[in-house]
């Protein structure tokens, strides 16, 4: 029996936020796209995050440039798809500080960020309570970031894939890549899967959008990249009337995001969702893919959230969830063609910012694959940077 052979210009492996954005921009650019996921759409780390599209937590550097590009693209997506269809909310971020040291650090950061094009507004305490009336009284300083947004990440992923399908893309869930196919010159020509309906798919380009599993997928192509999991918990409260208006977090957060420490860190991020539940995130721990629930971590998050919003003490915790951020040692994503395996393009390793950075990533990948000049210099994200370090 002859096996049906599927062909595409671009095969995206991974139907998370990043893979969906790649599929959306590539199909909009006229490429024939196929998307695979071993599980369901948006069932990976994308289903375990807070959906923030942030510029506020970025320090000057390549990631900040990608975040600013993504911020503009998300706003455009919201206008194009309808903000409600992805629950895109221009809520803005508020960063607060209690100690004089934290306040000083925050002021230095906002000044630096303003020089790099971020709207970062230092806010006096009285004005801070206008922005967030329920803040703890001992908060002494703050900053407002009007550009910060939030999206419902699972919905956004599904919606972008719906749009990509309208542009002719096909999506195969429950389909795992088990092997890469190679041409006579050793170049990647497609993949073999475990699904009987699409046993092989040939493609001009294979995009590695496998998130925290991007390292294993790259390994399968004999082109290893160091993507590792960084575990995080989020607490979800009972639904409340609107009591928190922005994404609110403490100044310690930025330091933690950029930290190299493997030990547990929590710096609380508190915000409401459209449904009224309050999300309280997020811890950072390097413990591999360990799915066990840690009560001390939940306790610490609860304690810190109450420190920012004391009223939360009486609010019920309904559930918690956890996920594994895909991180690289230098905290930058891997975006670009892998010269060890021609035909393979990476789009993974976005750590705690893959929702926000997805728009820029998909856009840049589409530019790359249609031979257009990328809006950003991709060199800092290039997979070859790891080889340079090792050799």
């Amino acid at each position: 029996m002859e096996v049906a052979r599927t062909t595409a210009d671009v095969l995206v492996v991974g139907a998370g936020m990043v893979g969906a954005a790649c599929a959306y921009y590539c199909s909009a650019a006229g490429l024939r796209v196929t998307v695979l996921d071993r599980a369901a759409i948006a069932g990976g780390t994308t289903s375990a995050c807070e959906g923030n599209i942030l510029v506020s937590d970025k320090e000057p550097g390549a990631e900040l440039e990608l975040a600013l590009l993504s911020n503009r693209l998300w706003a455009a997506l919201g206008a194009e798809l309808g903000a409600a269809s992805v629950e895109l909310h221009h809520k803005g971020g508020v960063v607060v500080a209690k100690s004089p040291e934290a306040a000083g650090g925050l002021a230095t950061l906002t000044a630096e960020q303003r020089r790099h094009g971020i709207e970062a507004v230092d806010v006096a305490p009285d004005r801070l309570f206008e922005l967030e009336p329920n803040l703890a009284p001992d908060i002494t300083a703050g900053a407002h970031y009007p550009q910060d947004m939030q999206v419902q990440p699972m919905l956004a992923t599904a919606e972008l894939l719906r749009r990509a399908r309208r542009h002719g893309a096909s999506v195969h869930t429950g389909t795992t890549v088990v092997e890469f196919l190679r041409g006579s010159g050793g170049e990647i020509t497609g993949v073999r899967t475990d699904a009987p309906d699409v046993p092989t798919i040939s493609a001009g380009w294979v995009i590695n959008a496998a998130g925290s599993w991007g390292g294993s997928l790259a390994e399968l192509a004999a082109a290893p990249i160091p993507v590792l999991p960084r575990k995080g918990f989020v607490l979800v409260t009972e639904p409340l009337p609107p009591v928190i208006h922005h994404k609110v977090y403490t100044a310690e957060y930025v330091a933690n995001v950029a930290s190299d420490d493997a030990a547990l860190q929590t710096s609380v991020v508190v915000e409401s969702t459209r449904a009224g539940t309050v999300l309280i995130g997020a811890s950072r721990e390097r413990v591999g893919f360990d799915r066990s629930v840690s009560i001390p971590v939940l306790r610490m998050l609860a304690r810190q959230a109450i420190g920012v919003f004391p009223f939360l003490s009486d609010v019920a915790l309904l559930r918690s969830y956890l996920g594994f951020r895909p991180y690289c040692p230098d905290h930058l994503p891997v975006i670009g063609a892998d010269h060890r395996a021609p035909g393979l393009v990476h789009a993974c390793g976005h750590e705690g910012a893959g929702i926000g950075l997805a728009a820029g990533t998909g856009h840049l990948i589409a530019q790359l694959l249609t031979d257009r000049e990328p809006d950003l210099d991709l060199a800092p994200f290039h997979p070859a940077r790891f080889q340079e370090v090792t050799t």
Binding site: E159, I295, R299
Partner: protein, 465 residues
């Protein structure tokens, strides 16, 4: 995994004080184990022996058994009013995180017996979220626990033998029960060989009660709509074909002020799932914990008894509880077990389980109920997600399993955490993909790391770290 510094305070902690948990606690204590019995209710008894203070047991079944168990609790530490919101493994056993009112505390034990029971399985239909529409178990609990009738003119509907005691109880307490509408055709069940063993006596008794109160019992019929503005005023009752599709033109309206509906039970599995116990799909289509001959789950030190390992009634729960309690007790105290007694219990368990399986086979949920749904029928009442939104998430957004539906449009993310809508969402998703409901569908809607709500203050206030 956390380490608890000291030797656990209890050899055996029993979670749930219904028939299974009571039997387990008493049996474990009889082996000399130090036993804690934990339940969120203030009085022991669970759903089956739910009662009020000073209840003399007049309308209760097997009240003598309950009294004997309750009296034997002298040797057991009964932590009433304690809700367990999370269970975790430790080096020496388990730690149960509980809340009692606003106060958080922990219970450390070497072995754990989970006997958390089940709650009513819901099938949504137009109007089911109106005040006055109760679950069958909810209506019964109101009566048994508070002495309150859910209404004066009550329609009882659903499937399974449990509808009979509910209707009989309501009628005996003075309500006018307008009818019991059984969607299935259990006549075949009454001819089933295992029912002939004599277990039918109870059912016959209830039927007699219903006849005395002139309550009609109709098969192949169901409440397919509830009508009313602020509260339910009428129920739409229809005849069904063998696949539970509405027979065209058969719907009639009964004026009522309450409806009690139940389509079987959903076992409560949060705690075994938190601990990593394996599950299976039971004959009734419910997700249940896998247990072995000693009632052990697949995680060492965890025993499961009662509905949490398969719905089978109070009698089976008692036997399973006793087995679990004896084995857990014997393991922790290293005493010798009475093989003959154990064998007797195992034989009883086998007979009761085959009876339960025959019962489940006689009362299956048929796919025609999906046709009762209107586009705007609410599937998830907490998040107000309608049938058409669920369908849109499947057709337009590509949801291939119920967890994906939940992630895109939120059924199961609200207060009840999918306890109510998980089953219906699983059916809707499976039907659209041309398959039956699978174990993974239900698992995807059943993982609840926080088993019961706990205030952030109670969670954080604990100063042990």
């Amino acid at each position: 995994m956390t380490t608890s510094p000291a030797e656990p305070r209890y050899d055996v902690a029993v979670l749930g004080a219904g028939p299974a948990g009571l039997a387990a606690a008493v049996a474990a204590a009889s082996t000399g184990s130090r036993v804690a019995l934990i339940d969120s209710a203030s009085r022991p008894g669970g759903q089956f022996w739910r009662h009020r203070a000073g209840d003399d047991g007049t309308r209760q079944l097997h009240w003598d058994t309950f009294r004997a168990l309750r009296d034997a609790l002298e040797r057991v530490e009964h932590l009433a009013g304690h809700t367990v919101w999370h269970a975790e493994r430790t080096e020496q056993g388990f730690t149960l995180h509980t809340v009692n009112g606003g106060a958080a505390s922990e219970v450390a034990c070497r072995t754990l017996i989970v006997a958390t029971g089940a709650y009513d399985r819901q099938l949504p239909f137009p109007g089911w979220t109106l005040p006055g529409v109760f679950t069958a178990g909810g209506a019964q609990a109101l009566l048994k626990g508070h002495g309150v009738l859910p209404g004066q003119r009550i329609v009882v509907a659903g499937t399974g033998p449990f509808l009979l005691p509910v209707a009989a109880g309501l009628a005996e307490a003075g309500a006018r029960v307008l009818g019991v509408f059984e969607a299935g055709t259990p006549a075949r069940f009454t001819r089933h060989p295992v029912t002939a063993l004599g277990k039918l006596g109870e059912a016959v008794g209830y039927l007699r009660t219903l006849r005395r109160h002139r309550v009609p019992y109709r098969m192949r019929s169901a409440v397919v709509a509830a009508h009313g503005e602020a509260t339910v005023r009428a129920a739409g009752v229809a005849s069904l074909d063998a696949r539970w599709r509405i027979v065209p033109g058969s719907t009639r309206t009964l004026d009522c002020d309450a409806v009690a509906v139940g389509y079987g039970f959903t076992p409560q599995l949060e705690i075994p799932l938190q601990l990593g116990c394996a599950t299976r799909l039971d004959v009734d289509g419910s997700l249940v914990t896998r247990v072995d001959g000693q009632q052990r789950g697949t995680v060492p030190g965890v025993y499961v008894a009662g509905e949490a390992c398969g719905v089978g009634g109070a009698g089976l729960s008692l036997v399973e509880g006793e087995l679990a309690g004896l084995h857990a007790g014997y393991t922790t105290t290293d005493t010798r077990l009475n093989r003959r007694h154990i064998d007797r219990l195992l034989r009883r368990r086998a007979a009761l389980r085959s009876f339960a399986a025959a019962m489940h086979e006689a009362y299956p949920v048929r796919r025609g109920w999906l046709g009762w749904l209107a586009e705007d029928t609410v599937i998830c009442r907490c998040e107000e997600v309608t049938a058409s939104e669920v369908r849109r998430s499947i057709v337009d957004l590509g949801a291939t399993d119920p967890r994906a539906v939940k992630l895109y449009v939120r059924p199961g993310m609200g207060l009840c955490q999918g306890r109510m809508c998980g089953y219906a969402t699983s059916w809707l998703t499976a039907q659209h993909h041309g398959r039956g409901v699978r174990q993974d569908d239900l698992l995807g809607m059943s993982s609840r790391p926080i088993a019961q709500p706990v205030s952030l203050g109670a969670l954080s206030g604990h100063a042990d770290d």
